[in-house]
């Protein structure tokens, strides 16, 4: 019996290991209010995605032909993403802080202001995730998570807004976890094969001197993993260079 267990255990553990998270540390924290004036700070973090193998490219091309729509390298089902954060209030007064999470998939970036034609008349649509006000006591600390389901919804919303042609308010103010596929230019694409976020655009807003530290947590289900093992230290020529365009809505978008 023990020898059977000894044979089964490594297999079990290898399967478990395929779901182990990887933590990506940003180069720096976001700080606002150090000078008593700034209230926002922004940063971008792009996932270090390795180069696509020839075999993967062939499978993807075949799938694209089958679906009649573009299939990304980094699909929603390939990565589970979350962001863990900690806000420190360095001021001697309590304050309020917000985190806006926007970002990009490998084709499009979501920029809320791109949807505003007249800034005096129109309100910018909400970010892909976040925008919750957090009260932080003087000298206090608060931690939280933008969960995997929230970022999965964010990636779906970006696809709905860009390739799905849905307005940002309609996409962002509803939860679409019951969707199984979406219409992409007449082709029905399963939600798991839509594009995942590959870049995070974080904006930290606070009315006091505060610091936001964050970590991106990735569970990579692709074999071999999509995330380069050397993470931020990976040689640039071993990474896929994505160039997502800021999504510009058609003029007729309501």
């Amino acid at each position: 019996m023990a020898s059977v267990r000894a044979a089964i255990l490594p297999v079990t553990l290898l399967v478990a290991c395929s779901n182990d998270p990887v933590y990506l540390q940003p180069p720096a924290a976001l700080e606002v209010g150090a000078d008593g004036m700034t209230t926002t700070a922004s940063a971008q973090l792009t996932l270090p995605i390795r180069l696509e193998t020839e075999e993967e490219a062939a499978v993807r091309a075949e799938r694209q032909a089958e679906l009649g729509a573009m299939v990304p390298l980094v699909t929603r089902e390939a990565l589970d993403l979350s962001i863990e954060w900690t806000i420190k209030n360095l001021d001697d007064q309590p304050g309020v802080a917000r985190i806006h999470l926007n970002g990009a998939n490998e084709w499009f970036a979501y920029v809320p202001l791109a949807f505003v034609v007249d800034p005096e008349e129109e309100e910018a649509p909400p970010p892909l995730a976040g925008d919750v006000p957090y009260e932080i006591p003087a000298g206090g600390t608060r931690s939280g998570v933008l969960r995997e389901d929230q970022l999965a919804e964010a990636s779906l919303d970006l696809e709905l807004i860009s390739r799905g042609g849905l307005g940002p308010f309609a996409a962002l103010l509803a939860v679409h976890d019951d969707l199984e596929e979406i219409d992409v230019g007449g082709a029905m694409v399963p939600v798991g094969e839509l594009a995942n976020l590959i870049r995070f655009d974080l904006t930290f807003i606070a009315d006091r001197h505060m610091v936001l530290e964050y970590t991106v947590r990735v569970r990579d289900h692709r074999n071999p993993p999509l995330i380069h093992p050397e993470l931020a230290d990976a040689p640039p020529d071993e990474l896929t260079g994505f160039a997502p365009a800021d999504y510009a809505p058609p003029a007729t978008t309501p």
Binding site: A2, R5, L9, Q25, T86, S143, P229, E230, D233
Partner: protein, 194 residues
């Protein structure tokens, strides 16, 4: 070898000497089977040294199999899994990592009736499940594996059935590639000898 571990190594050396000197008659007095064996253990492991502040004490499981070459000497291999809560500066918070090790080892026993005092030493490889300890520079980018050196000892009690024994053991391990991180743990085990 690290100068921080003289006690386990000294114990191992003493037991090797004692085992080598033990007369066969004394070994035969042990009412135990001898031959291929399998062992399962459950215990707890913690970090010592520089990494001690970055991981909490965690459960550890191990399966070991091998063969008794003599009543006082056995060789074997083992698979170990331990899990720890990371205590790196947040974020992240409340995250866990696992250490999975595979090693070969050598065990020297000094039987005394139903009891046996033993020491063992091993050499193998360890895999860490996540890079969370990179935040505190214990891991380098992309680093997942480390050689493993271990030494330990314990006390074994032979049950009335000559195939079964139970024991308590302690083990110290050094992971040179993980910033020379060290672990120390204790475990209870059940051993079956065919």
């Amino acid at each position: 070898m690290s100068p921080r571990c003289p006690a386990p190594l000294a114990l191992l050396a003493a037991l090797i000497a004692a085992g080598a000197a033990a007369p066969p008659a004394a070994a035969d007095s042990r009412p135990a089977s001898r031959g291929p064996y399998a062992e399962a253990s459950l215990g707890a492991t913690g970090m010592i040294g520089p990494g001690r502040t970055y991981a909490r004490l965690g459960p550890a499981f191990a399966l070991r199999a091998g063969v008794d070459l003599f009543s006082w000497l056995s060789i074997g291999g083992r698979l170990e899994l331990e899990t720890h809560e990371a205590r790196v500066p947040p974020p992240p918070e409340g995250e866990y990592f696992q250490l999975l090790a595979a090693a070969g080892d050598l065990r020297i026993s000094v039987p005394a009736g139903r009891f046996a005092l033993f020491a063992d030493g091993g050499l193998g490889i360890t895999r860490v499940s996540t890079n969370i300890l990179a935040k505190v520079d214990i891991l380098d980018p992309g680093e997942t594996y480390s050689p493993l050196l271990s030494a330990g000892g314990g006390l074994e009690y032979q049950l009335q059935n000559r195939h079964y024994a139970v024991g308590l053991a302690g083990q110290w391990s050094l992971l040179p590639a993980f910033d020379a991180m060290q672990t120390v743990g204790g475990r209870a085990y059940l051993r079956y000898t065919y």
